[in-house]
Amino acid sequence: MLTDIVQLVLNGIMAGAILAAPAIGFTAIYAVLRFPNFAVASHATIGAFAGYCANVWLGLPLLPSAVVAFLVAGIVGVTSDSLVLRPLRSAGLITTTIASVALTIALENLVRLGFGNALRNYDLPIMRDWRFGGIRVGPQQLEDLAISAAAVAALFTFLAFTRLGKAMRAVADNPTLAAIKGIDADRIARIVNFIAMGLAGLGGMLLGLDTSIDPLTGFRAILAIFAAAVVGGLGSIPGAVVGALTVGVAEELSQLVLPSDYRTVVGFIAILLVLSFRPRGILGARAY
């Protein structure tokens, strides 16, 4: 029993680390632009397919493929925001949020148009799991974890030490004062969209590495992404990491008492509990 629990916690940490990338993207957009952008789902799918094309069609190894996933999703994120969401932002939160849902459906169907509904797998070498006592760890899982952790570390370094990263935090903290100080909010919004949707794309690819991808890859993950952001504190980037790990571990541990088909209910329960007992989330709403 103890071995099972350790195994599930370990799996949860691996899953949570992957979930952290798109959850950070979701919460970063909320922190700066003040609306929940559900188009993160379709950008996770786009990243997954961009990584697939790089890996399978172009024969690139995993790491360069992950970079392609990040870049393509980031570029599509900036473009789709400029064309669809930005013109609607002045209409208010509800309008923009609904538009983001419409955008995600449209983009997912574009992917379906191009690639069909079939499940697709990355071209990865088959590797035997490592065993430590009764605990199994997949080398691929560890690689996914390392890529996600490196991306998150790079983001934190960007936010802490670069001029643009500090400006992003300033706009998230106090947009009016940022405008008074001369910080160009539109430019910051484009950078946030690029990074956030890039992270969503990277997360989509990492999700697909463990299983397979199809046009609904991002859609299936959006509840867990949303739950991670809410549990950690919507708008808090460290909170998204904490929330993702919490949701990841909770989903895995739920298998002790629930059939695995019901894992997704954990996201709903997590949101319900947080909204009932700590509406600002574990780390509150501070962006950084």
Binding site: R163, K166, A167, R169, A170, A172, D173, N174, T176, L177, A178, A179, I180, K181, G182, I183, D184, R286, A287, Y288
Partner: protein, 240 residues
Amino acid sequence: MSLLEARDIVAGYGHGDEILKGVHLTIEADEIVAVIGPNGAGKSTLLKTIAGLLHPAQGRITLRGEPIHRLPPREVSRRGIAFVPQERNIFATLSVRENLEMGGWLDPAAIRRRIDDVFARFPMLAERRGRAARTLSGGQRQVLAMAMALMVQPVLLLLDEPSAGLSPIAAETLFATIQAINRDGIAIVMVEQNATQALAIAHRATILVDGRNNRDGAAAALAADPEIRRIFLGATPTEL
């Protein structure tokens, strides 16, 4: 030519909701001008309009003769006008040093040198450079807000109720700081509820009532005027 001239300013927060109904204000270089008046008179709205956060429906604002009333806040700031709002005037989640960096956003090449200057002028900020700004006291926050404004070496500083919420001792220190900044050649427009102290340090003053200029003149003369003392400075009949 005056440093700043605002003429016949009509401005507000929407059509048909004008707070300012034809205000005029002139600022000469190196002077402190106090803007006082009752709540709702349009004092803060006037500062926001000069800073570019609101655009006047009518009227004209010029800085050294150049029109600025259609410019966004970024461009107004770039021309040397620094606005310190009454509330939420610092980035609470950033460190003191990061706040100063954001204050100097428009002139990145000079940031390091100016932060050194600010720390020399305000050692209290230097001692707290790594701390999150939200941990500062009310008076320390106001000093940080003004220090952020100084990061762009402004020619004109707009202060919206700088002493609001401060203890009398902290307010006195703050007014001394404002005078010291002015002695360095920076013109200051200061909106204040604490009219007595504002008139004590200002060279000139404007009294706004219901979005219009009620009285303008030398601060000392206005402070000595019995009617103004009774209405705005809270003097009792025996003190007049």
